[in-house]
Symmetry: C2
Subunit: 190 residues, 2 copies
């Protein structure tokens, strides 16, 4: 677990590299740990409960969303699952090919596509979710229920911060300059 041990130690090294420029330690440590925890948890889930059904974390989340909310339009599923529409297209194709979900056109709006679980997908979720939840309890075992709640609450506030003020923040950082293209991704036609 060298990554963890080094976090606090790293801060001294950062100071050395920056030569006196002040660093926001606590915020830096929290962000680093958010990402590290997310990776560790995802990895554990994929290699324990999900491996047996050969699902990725993302595929499971998509199934979960449809399971909870019932037949849904793809854009809503993508937003709930926290992935882009383009990604969902690929994931749902995979899940459909395995017979876990089905797609149907919207009766009155030809642009929409509705996703729903097949009987097989439904049965899988009924079987899988309790195992998944048991693993959630496992990774959270060192924390009391109260600590889980306050941690969840703190993280929720971070998400709210980014989702409500993030775009405005990004605009003000650019300060009028054009948004700078990505190197990856489809090229503009011009």
């Amino acid at each position: 677990m060298p990554g963890q041990r080094s976090i606090t130690e790293a801060e001294k090294l950062v100071q050395a590299r920056l030569g006196g420029v002040p660093v926001q330690h606590d915020q830096m440590a929290m962000v680093a740990n958010i990402y590290r925890a997310a990776s560790a948890v995802r990895q554990h889930f994929e290699n324990s409960v999900l491996r047996g059904s050969d699902l990725t974390w993302t595929a499971f989340v998509v199934l979960w969303v449809i399971w909870i909310w019932g037949e849904s339009e793809t854009r809503h599923v993508a937003e709930e699952a926290g992935i882009s529409k383009g990604t969902l297209t690929g994931v749902s194709r995979t899940l459909q090919s395995r017979g876990l979900i089905s797609r149907a056109g919207h009766p009155s709006d030809g642009r929409l596509v509705l996703l729903s679980l097949t009987e097989e997908g439904e049965a899988l979720m009924r079987r899988l979710f309790p195992e998944f939840n048991a693993e959630e309890a496992f990774v959270a075992a060192p924390l009391s229920a109260e600590e889980c709640r306050s941690t969840a609450d703190a993280l929720r506030r971070v998400v709210v911060q980014v989702e409500t003020h993030g775009e405005e923040r990004r605009r003000s950082l650019l300060a009028g300059a054009e948004p700078a293209p990505r190197r990856s991704g489809r090229r503009p036609k011009a």
Copy 2:
């Protein structure tokens, strides 16, 4: 921000789908929020500070590790950065092609490869890190310094839990059964 609003609401729906099987609410909410916060934060960083230098989160973390620890063996960089060795090979190739890092063979052990920042990479990190840290402060703005510390500490304990007991847990879940292959990835030769 429908995703957040729905978390607590979703728990009632889960109960309905499971018909009385008990659910660990607090642990479930925490895990969901860890992942959601990590995605939101990563996305915000890539679209703000990192976009201008066309770096992904992962590429930045790799640069950061080398910056802090100095010239390092690839396996150590991969572990610190929280990615697999195979992923690092690709990322470091990209960074090298952009002139930000350089690679050198180990003087006495021909198997090892050492990564270090070029002068250009060094300059980039000196310029970029303060911007990065300012964004860490931005996303953490709704939380007090004390809340950042306790949240970071809780997440650290989750990581420790997974890293110390995860493998044992996965083994006991399988209970002797063979580990079940992945659908994706290279096929066993047999």
